[in-house]
């Protein structure tokens, strides 16, 4: 699984980080999401999908 964050859409809610802290880190200054595990390891796929689903701006794309 691959994940990408559209930084133009990301508003720094940080909900993805709460769902999947090992996949999405947050930028120190503006809270934008940073993907730190791509491809996503199998054991984190469910968390990553949850993080993508929970994004209020739909900024995260998941490719199987």
């Amino acid at each position: 699984m691959r994940v990408t964050v559209d930084l133009g859409a990301c508003q720094g809610h940080g909900v993805c980080h709460m769902s999947a802290p090992d996949v999405f880190e947050l930028d120190e200054t503006d809270g934008h999401s940073i993907v730190v595990q791509d491809p996503v390891p199998a054991e984190l796929e469910a968390d990553a999908q949850l993080g993508a689903d929970s994004c209020p701006e739909r900024a995260i794309t998941v490719l199987a």
């Binding site: 940080g14 909900v15 709460m18 947050l26 930028d27 120190e28 200054t29 929970s54």
Partner: protein
């Protein structure tokens, strides 16, 4: 297997999408009746009181459409559910047709509260749908005077947005501060102060006696006799769950559809509830809750999609709500209960800050204003179920 989802706003749309992503091969029908929408599908609501209201160039984005649903193999029915027959397992639609189901997901959400003396008329607006927001946007584009009745999240946000556009804005709120239910008394007072500083006229502890004007609104008269001239009135009186169509069906309806932790409706087999309409005992909050926030709609949809595809799941996510006011994002994780203690742990209330509330020995909520990153460690503690002392020690 036939799954019928009634309600085509965020929770309903995400439920059908979640079912397909989880590999469900059931027949899936989405029934939508969003007012003002050609296909009965709602728009994404958060921008309606924010960017959409402020800028005529911003368009409302429908959450999905017939074509996208079709590509998922989901049938979209544009119709309003009027009753439920659990014995025959059918949902009756306005106009006399009915839809059969094996599993039913109630996603009918909530509607803005109205009261008889504040009956909508020309110049008096509710705010729920994209059509509502467009009407307010058009009505207030002429630089006139707006009275917002209700100072909760939506009322305060609408007041702030319109004030930024240079409108004369007054807010009438029966409680002593704005947003007190969501933020508690201290933070409510802080944002009330900011609204006043921005030039929003505040009438707190006040109630509306009547809206004056025969053909269209002219003024709002308060119970203490104060008369507020108004060209436009926006009612932000909270919402009531849309459960009228379920009356008499045998479900437990007490301010929403009462569910267990999996969001299965009490008193029925194969009936579920998602979004604003669902009430359940939240394991983290320790109370029966009904949550009217964006994130909850998404999470409940995920929980029910999981439960309908063989993965038993309980809804225990930390509640989250945000609002954009005073030039920054205000984020609330968890639930601010009136009896809980508040501590500012980063910054100060007058600027950017992170505040915590605690009660009964536990960290209960984390609130940040303009502090996305600084609140992160506290959010982690909240998710982990940290004690109040532990949270304060981390500050």
């Amino acid at each position: 297997m036939r799954i019928v989802v009634v309600g085509a706003s965020l929770a309903g749309v995400r439920t059908v999408e979640g079912l397909r992503r989880r590999g469900s091969d059931a027949d899936v029908v989405l029934v939508g009746a969003e007012p003002g929408s050609a296909e009965g599908v709602a728009a994404d609501r958060p921008p309606l009181s924010k960017a959409f209201l402020a800028d005529p160039a911003v368009e409302a984005r429908p959450l999905t459409d017939r074509e996208r649903l079709g590509s998922l193999g989901v049938e979209l029915l544009n119709g309003r559910a009027v009753d439920l027959d659990l014995d025959r397992r059918r949902v009756g639609l306005h106009g006399g047709e009915s839809v059969a189901f094996d599993q039913l997901v109630v996603a009918t959400g909530s509607s803005p509260r109205s009261v008889p003396e504040l009956e909508p008329r020309p110049g008096v607006h509710l705010l729920r749908t994209a059509a509502d927001a467009a009407a307010i946007r058009a009505a207030t584009a002429e630089g006139n005077r707006v009275v917002v009745v209700g100072g909760g999240f939506i009322g305060a946000e609408v007041a702030w947005t319109l004030r930024q556009l240079g409108r004369e804005v007054a807010v009438v709120e029966p409680l002593p501060t704005l947003m007190v239910r969501g933020l508690g008394p201290q933070l409510g007072a802080e944002f009330t102060r900011r609204h006043a500083e921005a030039g929003v006229e505040l009438h707190l502890g006040a109630a509306v006696a009547e809206i004056e004007g025969a053909e269209r609104v002219e003024a709002v008269r308060l119970t203490d006799g104060t008369r507020l001239p108004a060209d436009v009135v926006v009612l932000g009186l909270g919402t009531v769950p849309e459960t009228g169509w379920l009356a008499g069906a045998g479900l437990d309806l007490r301010d929403g559809v009462v569910c267990d932790g999996r969001l299965a409706a009490a008193g029925a087999e194969g009936v579920w509830a998602v979004g604003d309409v669902a009430r359940w005992r939240h394991p983290r909050v320790g109370e029966d809750v009904r949550v009217e926030h964006w994130t909850n709609a998404v999470e409940t949809a995920g929980v029910v999609a999981a439960n309908l595809t063989g993965t038993p799941t309980v809804h225990d996510a930390v509640p989250y709500v945000w609002t954009d006011q005073h030039g920054a994002r205000l984020q609330v994780f968890g639930r601010v209960r009136p009896q809980d203690e508040l501590r500012v742990v980063v910054g100060e209330l007058g600027g950017s800050f992170v505040a915590l509330t605690g009660g009964d020995g536990l960290l209960r909520s984390v609130i940040g204003f303009g502090a996305v990153k600084a609140l992160m460690p506290f959010r982690k503690l909240l998710v982990a179920g940290a004690g109040w002392d532990e949270a304060l020690a981390a500050a």
